[in-house]
């Protein structure tokens, strides 16, 4: 069964029927937002049943949209949290990818700005590596980008999409080592992105992120995960009641090949390891449970089939 990421938007009235339908079809709801009279469900559903959900949702004024970024956690790497980079463009981009289903976190570097003085520390590097993809937002000068990028990429293992002021071709030429995606003409600016031209640029960033993630998905498909992270999310929610008391917007954040569990590592790591998925197979058998560098959370990395020899 191939699961595809979609977003369902519709009225609150009878939305439980849609939730039941998705669950009955074997899909997973990753996030649920209730905004006034509207409900937004970000979910994974079987590919063949998308049309069924669409037709059942239609009388309820529901809309089904393809959202390739659902179930991904994106690090938007801003060079600092100063007025120079916030709220534009860092927040604009972080917010835009959030709208189409991604869970974005802003990672700001302690010594990001500048040319000679720029750098990255181990904590920042580790936090970036806990995401599915990192979107680096750089400035307007190619001299500075060329000079600082090798440093900022040191130790970063996740795919990187680079946004900067110079043209895309220039970025490709100057950035060493090469990264996975480039978006030119998006450097530092001090106004809100509201012109159609600027919104097109945001769409271009999303397209580039999607392209890079699709490539990553293809790679993952070659050696599939032992268990779907979305499934683990449902199991943890059922078997570890403490997660229900977490007030964070996404207590369980689904990633492409893992899960961030927002519970303290020391107390809950062993509890999670012992959670049974099916037929005596425990989470500890199919996933690595490690402390996250983000607060005291737990990061759970699902092992591929080649390591565990099981797919459930």
């Amino acid at each position: 069964m191939i699961l595809v990421p979609i977003t369902y938007k519709g009225g609150i009235y009878r939305h439980n029927e849609i939730i039941d339908l998705i669950e009955d079809l074997g899909g997973y709801i990753v996030q649920k937002h209730m905004i006034a009279q509207e409900v937004v469900l970000q979910c994974f559903v079987p590919k063949d049943d998308v049309e069924l959900i669409r037709s059942i949702g239609k009388p309820l004024a529901g809309e089904v949209i393809d959202s390739p970024l659902v179930g991904t956690e994106i690090a938007v790497v801003s060079m600092s949290l100063e007025i120079h980079h916030l709220p534009h463009p860092s927040c604009d981009i972080a917010e835009y990818v959030r709208r189409i289903g991604a869970k974005s976190n802003m990672v700001s570097l302690a010594r990001g700005p500048g040319k000679r003085i720029a750098g990255i520390n181990d904590e920042e590097r580790d936090v970036i590596n806990e995401h599915d993809i990192a979107v680096y937002l750089l400035g307007n000068f190619e001299t500075c980008i060329e000079h600082k990028m090798p440093l900022l990429l040191r130790g970063v293992e996740v795919p990187v999409v680079l946004c900067g002021g110079p043209e895309k071709e220039t970025l490709k030429r100057i950035v060493e080592p090469a990264v996975d995606g480039y978006v030119g003409n998006v450097g530092r600016f001090m106004h809100r992105t509201k012109e159609s031209e600027e919104l097109t640029k945001l769409d271009e960033i999303v397209a580039e992120i999607t392209r890079v993630l699709e490539k990553r998905r293809e790679e993952l498909a070659k050696d599939p995960l032992s268990v779907s992270p979305a499934r683990l999310m449902v199991i943890i929610r059922e078997q570890v009641p403490a997660i229900l008391a977490v007030t964070s917007p996404t207590p369980l954040t689904v990633q492409m090949s893992g899960l961030r569990v927002k519970l303290p590592y020391d107390t809950y790591a062993d509890v999670l390891r012992r959670v049974e998925i099916e037929d005596g197979i425990k989470i500890g058998d199919v996933a690595e449970i490690e402390p996250s560098r983000m607060r005291d959370y737990i990061i759970l990395r699902v092992k591929p089939f080649s390591e565990t020899n099981t797919v459930i």
């Binding site: 120079h84 500048g114 003085i117 400035g139 001299t143 500075c144 002021g165 110079p166 600016f189 001090m190």
Partner: protein, 193 residues
């Protein structure tokens, strides 16, 4: 940008220069500074790296007086002020309290201030200076240029005078090059530092 007579952003990278022109414009516009800058020349060389901004200010608006924000009506034993612009109300009240004492200053509602038992004439009250907008202007100007300048350029030399200002910033220790650049850029605008 019509309010500025001369506005140039010079940069060794063409595209970077265009972006910085936009940033400069946005920041000055946000802080309402376009009306006070007469000429502005920005020079950026990311290779050195250095950021230089030099400019000429317009004559800064005069002091704000009571008559600018209120209508003074003298009456028997008291004076009623009808406030038309609340912006400077707080500094005005503070000045009244200092000069006449709180017992003599009453504010029955938002737009009315009543002065009782005072010896000053209505003309004298009207002429009282209550605020100097230029003070805020310099604060805004300092803040604006720190915003415009690339963030990593933290070694700064700033000079704000009554008519002219210069701003030099770099990552590295500033040398005489910066000062000579200031002279050079002032000369481009037909001015001397």
């Amino acid at each position: 940008m019509q309010a500025i007579e001369y506005f140039e952003v010079e940069c060794t990278e063409k595209l970077g220069g265009e972006y910085y022109r936009q940033i400069t414009n946005d920041v000055l516009l946000d802080h309402n500074l376009l009306r006070v800058i007469h000429k502005l020349h920005v020079y950026i060389d990311p290779r050195i790296p250095i950021f230089v901004a030099v400019g000429i200010l317009k004559k800064v608006t005069t002091l704000v007086r009571v008559s600018d924000i209120a209508n003074v009506n003298p009456q028997e034993g008291k004076m009623t002020l009808a406030i038309s612009d609340e912006t400077y109300l707080a500094p005005m009240l503070k000045i009244f309290w200092d000069r006449f004492g709180k017992d003599h200053v009453d504010q029955p509602d938002r737009f009315t201030v009543i002065l009782t038992g005072i010896t000053a004439s209505s003309r004298e009250i009207e002429e009282m200076a209550i605020a100097d907008p230029s003070e805020a202007l310099y604060k805004d100007l300092v803040y604006a240029f720190r915003c415009i300048c690339p963030e990593g350029f933290r070694v700064r030399s700033e000079n704000y005078g009554a008519e002219k200002f210069s701003f030099i910033a770099s990552e590295d220790t500033l040398t005489d090059t910066g000062l000579s650049l200031v002279k050079e850029k002032f000369a481009l605008m037909g001015e001397t530092p």
